[in-house]
Each structure stands twice: as C-alpha cells, then as structure tokens.
C-alpha cells in the first residue's frame, strides 16, 4: 500500500494557489518571450558580459567556500551547545537574512572601508578592501552566510545526538565524533545549504554596489552588469537575465537532489 490518501482540500484553495504560481512563472516566461534570439549568443558573449559572468562565478565560489569554513562551526556551536545569550546571538548573527542588502553594504563600508572600524588599521598594513574584488567576496559572504547556517543548524537538530552518544560510548573523542558521525550525517543539509548560499552570492546586488562599486572586471558582477545594461542595451540585459535564471534553475535542481542523499 502507498501513502494513506489525504482528506482533501476545499476547492476554492486552488484558485489563489494557481494565481500565486502564475505570479511567479509568468514573469519568467516574459523574459524568455522578450529574448532577442538571433543576437542571443553575441549578447551574452560580449566582452563586458563574459567579464561579469566570470567574475560572478569566481567570487560566488570563493564566498561559498568562506561560508562553509565559518558557517559549519557556527551551526555546530549553535545546535550542539547551550550558553547564556545564545538565542540573542543566533538572532543577531542571522540578521543579514532580513536586513536590506544596501544596509549590509553600508555596514561593511564602515567596517572595512578606508575610514571604517577596521579599515584604518588595515590600511596601515597596506590592505585596502573597499571597491576591490575582495570587497565583492565579503559582501556576498555577509549576505549568504546565514543561509548556510540556518539550513545546517536545522539539519543538525533533525539528525539529533543519538548517534553521537553511541559513538562516544564506542570510544570516539569529540573530534572523531564530529568528523566521522556528525558531519557525514548532515552532509545533505550541508550540501543544500552551500548551494543556497552559492545562489544567494550569485544574485547579490545591493551590498555589492554599495561596498564594492561597479568596476568592469573587478567588482561588476552579473547582476550589476544587468542593471547597467538595462539603460543602454535592454536586449543584452534580458539575455543576461535569462542566463541567471538558467543558473538558478540548475542550482535549485542540485539543492533538491542534495536533500535526498539517502
């Protein structure tokens, strides 16, 4: 026997549900309809487009790596320990999730910018971050990190600590438990968290333009390029948008697969 059949839904629910689905899908179709197919290849392979795409992929990859390096320990600490003020700390750390990205960019500017909190001492050391590719990476990491932490912390809580306790009674030190039990068990959650973070990095606009500016090949990522082209060459903007939509679809497919590892 398969799943027990559901008790059913009132018929009126389907109307707003359909309306919502159309609201999301029709604009995507509108892009496809508006694409200038004859010049599509030329538009997406122009020098500025390729530079933007390449920059976006590079920075999003590095940012995702940073998210994993910092996010895994953060999620583990949040899910597996208890300390005073933990709830507050969690809310604050996850703030970029709900913060307007422009505000994030301003916050970063006044931290790492030339006259920022840390910027001055960094300038003394000869490091200048604002309006560089490094700034793009920092902006993306800032907005994407909470995505990874939230999804991994959820996976850790769902997995529970039962297997970890068993491993400890088998003589495994906390380090061994983390490496051989905890992380392998939440690998699907970690993978989909990383994919989500990568997608968020690719789409980053507000914090990037505020903190990193828009220099072709240095800080002008794909979303920035699309925004710029929209005024001078709408056809190019539409073509590049379609590229981002396709990348998003691929990423989402990965994330769905990652959630079903076993």
């Amino acid at each position: 026997m398969s799943e027990p059949s559901s008790v059913g839904l009132p018929r009126w629910v389907f109307l707003p549900a359909l309306l919502g689905a159309a609201f999301v899908l029709v604009p995507l179709l509108a892009i496809v309809a508006r694409v200038d197919w004859t010049n599509f290849l030329a538009l997406v392979t122009s020098e500025s487009s390729v530079a933007a795409l390449w920059l976006s992929l590079r920075t999003a990859t590095v940012s995702t790596l940073l998210c994993v390096l910092m996010g895994v320990p953060m999620a583990t600490v949040l899910a597996r320990t208890r300390f005073p003020g933990q709830g507050l700390l969690r809310s604050l750390v996850l703030l970029p999730l709900v913060l307007p990205p422009v505000v994030g960019g301003i916050a970063l500017l006044y931290t790492f910018g030339r006259r920022g909190l840390l910027g001055h001492s960094m300038e003394v050391l000869g490091i200048e971050i604002a309006f560089s590719t490094t700034a793009v990476v920092l902006a993306q990491t800032f907005v994407a990190l909470p995505f990874l932490v939230v999804s991994l912390e959820g996976a850790l809580r769902t997995a529970g600590e039962r297997y970890e306790r068993v491993a400890a009674t088998l003589g495994a030190s906390p380090g061994t438990v983390l490496r051989r039990i905890t992380l392998p068990l939440v690998m699907p959650g970690l993978a989909s968290g990383a994919v989500l973070a990568f997608a968020r990095c690719l789409g980053e606009f507000g914090a990037t333009i505020t903190f990193a500016g828009s220099l072709q090949g240095v800080t002008r990522t794909l979303p920035l390029e699309i925004y710029l082209q929209r005024e001078t060459d709408p056809d190019a903007a539409v073509a590049l948008s379609l590229v981002l939509v396709l990348v998003a679809v691929v990423v989402l497919g990965w994330a769905r697969r990652g959630g079903r590892a076993w």
């Binding site: 491993a167 400890a168 009674t169 088998l170 003589g171 495994a172 030190s173």
Partner: protein
C-alpha cells in the same frame, strides 16, 4: 592485575557505583562482581536509565563515585571533581534501538570502535569481521543498516559494542524493540557472548533476567530494593515489583540429548533444541501464562505434560494463578471454574515445547 582495556576474559572487572541525581529522585548504590551479568528490573521511571546514564557518562550525578576495576571514573564527593567523559570510560552501551550509523556498512559500523581507539584500518576491519562472524553475520558485512532486519541490526550493534573492547557493557532493554521472531536470535547471541564480561542489563522481561543474568537488582523509587541471585529473588520476592513479575517456572535437571530430565525423571522437551552437551546440568524456564491445565492425561499430545497436585488458587490480575508446588499456571477464571479446581486436586500442567527455553547452569 593490569586492567588492560579489552580484557574480556573470565576475570572481568568489578564495578562500584554510588550516585545521587536529585532532579530524578535517584539515590543508587550498587556493586557488580567481576565478569558477572547483573539484570536490573523495576517499574518505569524508577531510575534504571539513570543508572546506565551514570555508568556510561551521559548523566552527571550531583554527587557520587564510579569505580571500574582499578580506575576511578567519577568522584564527585565533597570538594572532589573527577569526571571521565563517555569516550574515555571503556563502558559500552547497547540500547533498544540498534542505532547503526546509517552512512556506514555493517563492517564499518563494527570497525568504528577499534578505529576510534587508534587501530589501523586493516586491523580494525579484521577485528570487525571476526566479531561479525561471532554474531553470525559475516555475510552481511557489506550491507547498509537499512538493508538488514531488526534482529540482524541489533546483532551488528552488539558486535560493534564488543569491538570497542569495553570493560563493562550496558544493555538497555536490548530485546524490547524487536519483533517476536527476532528476539530468540538476539537472546541466543547474548547468551553466547556475555559470559566473562561485566554486564548490566536493564530489562522488563523477567525471562531475560533469569536467562542472561547471574544476579538481579530491583530498583524502585530511585533506589535498589532487592539484590540477589536471579532465581532467589524471583522465588522469594520481597519487593512489590519483584512479587508482581515473579512466578516464572524453573525446572532444573540434566540435558539427556533430547530433553531436560528433572531429578524425578520428568522430561521437558524444548524447541528449538538448544545447543547443550548431553549430561550437562541445565534449567528449563517457561512462563505461567504458557501453561494450560487439563483434568487428565491427554493421549498423543505433542506437549510437555507435568502431573501435579494443586496447592493454591489465587487471583492474579485478570487471570487466576494456580500453584502446584514450585510451579504456577495462569489461566482464565472461566477455565478454572470449568475444571472445578480446588487445592489437593491432581491435574496435568501442559506446556508446548516452543514455550520452553533451556540454558546450562554455570
């Protein structure tokens, strides 16, 4: 004696435990002999799990002491704070649920303990394979946990616990989550592998207590109320809980190759046939509920028949307990009335061979 971890020879280690956990209303004091199996019985919430938690290091008592062999694992008396984390205790735990690591094969599960304790990969796998063979599952080494049955999973979990070479093994109702059909196979493996290893087994099943354990401790309201040899505690229960669960039928005798032959010549057949050598002293065990009563001998019955004389009839929950010397039968009130039972009456206690378990007496 050097208390090398993994010495699971006949000279196991002794355990001494004293613990107070105020939050759970538990105040326990217990000593376990080297190499013995101690069964812990008691109502839910009496403190059985707390006992295992304190021993394994998953529960920190407010005060107390845990001594395993020559090692002091916990000493939380006034002004002292010795605390050994679970992974450094050499105390293994097998719970109701096998909890095999889902991302590892059966073999990798069993090899986990040796690897964690520093064995090389090849050596750990060889050791794991040997243990899988001892629980009779070598052919399932490459399977994932979701590809084995519940009973097999629990046997793999036992092999995994033993592979970590614990000085003390804790079993938390190891059979209770298993199907009726899977219980005997796991029970059999426990019977074969536990002797010589200091073991604490928490169980609800008095039959398992008698089969697996040398001694029985009864815990009620957070403290040990009875402690003694299994047969004695159950024969002369002093606590309310022990009295409620006692009454198991025990017949001692010798294995004659086909059945248990009691000293009075009575033979008790056992199915499936246990692996006992002819002539070995053994004990047949069966529950009072497995006994049916007939007024007279029935011709051609495949059952064990025990001619007895009724000595007492008393209510026992929803049933009627009929005592005949050392034996008891629990039958419905209707059948007791139908048989017109009264003390002194000769009747026949019958029990199917499949309801009887036999084990060698040490």
């Amino acid at each position: 004696m050097v208390s090398a971890r993994g010495s699971s020879g006949p000279e196991g280690v002794a355990v001494e435990l004293e613990a107070t956990v105020a939050e759970r209303g538990v105040q326990l004091s217990l000593q376990i002999e080297p190499g013995e199996t101690l069964a812990v019985l008691g109502p839910n919430g009496a403190g059985k799990s707390t006992l295992l938690g304190v021993l394994s290091g998953l529960v920190r008592p407010d005060s107390g002491r845990v001594q395993v062999g020559s090692r002091t694992l916990v000493d939380l008396a006034e002004g002292r704070s010795v605390w050994t984390p679970p992974h450094a205790r050499g105390v293994g735990l097998l719970a109701q649920d096998p909890l095999l690591f889902p991302h590892l094969t059966a073999l990798e599960n069993v090899a986990f303990g040796p690897r964690a304790l520093g064995s090389k990969r090849v050596a750990a796998k060889r050791q794991a394979m040997a243990l899988l063979e001892r629980v009779g599952l070598a052919e399932l080494a490459a399977r994932r946990p979701h590809q084995v049955s519940g009973g097999q999973a629990q046997r793999v979990a036992l092999a995994r616990a033993l592979a970590a070479a614990p000085e003390v093994l804790l079993l938390d109702e190891p059979l209770s989550a298993l199907d009726i059909d899977a219980k005997p196979e796991v029970r059999q493996v426990l019977l074969e592998l536990l002797p010589g290893l200091t073991t604490v087994v928490v169980t609800h099943d008095v039959l398992d207590a008698v089969l697996l354990a040398d001694r029985v401790a009864v815990i009620e309201d957070g403290s040990v109320v009875e402690l003694g040899r299994a047969a004695e505690v159950l024969a002369t229960p002093r606590s309310a809980f022990a009295a409620r669960i006692a009454g198991l039928n025990l017949i001692d005798g010798a294995w004659d190759g086909e059945a248990v032959r009691a000293s009075d010549g009575q033979r008790i057949h056992v199915a499936p046939t246990p692996a006992l050598a002819p002539g070995v002293r053994c004990r047949a065990v069966f529950r009072p509920t497995a006994v049916a009563i007939y007024a007279a001998h029935t011709e051609g019955s495949p059952r064990n028949e025990l001619p007895v004389q009724v000595s007492a009839i008393e209510p026992h929950g929803d049933l009627v307990r009929v005592r005949a010397g050392a034996l008891s039968a629990d039958i419905t009130a209707a059948s007791a009335l139908g048989l017109r039972l009264r003390p002194g009456m000769p009747v026949v206690f019958t029990v199917k061979a499949t309801e009887v378990t036999a084990y060698a007496l040490g």
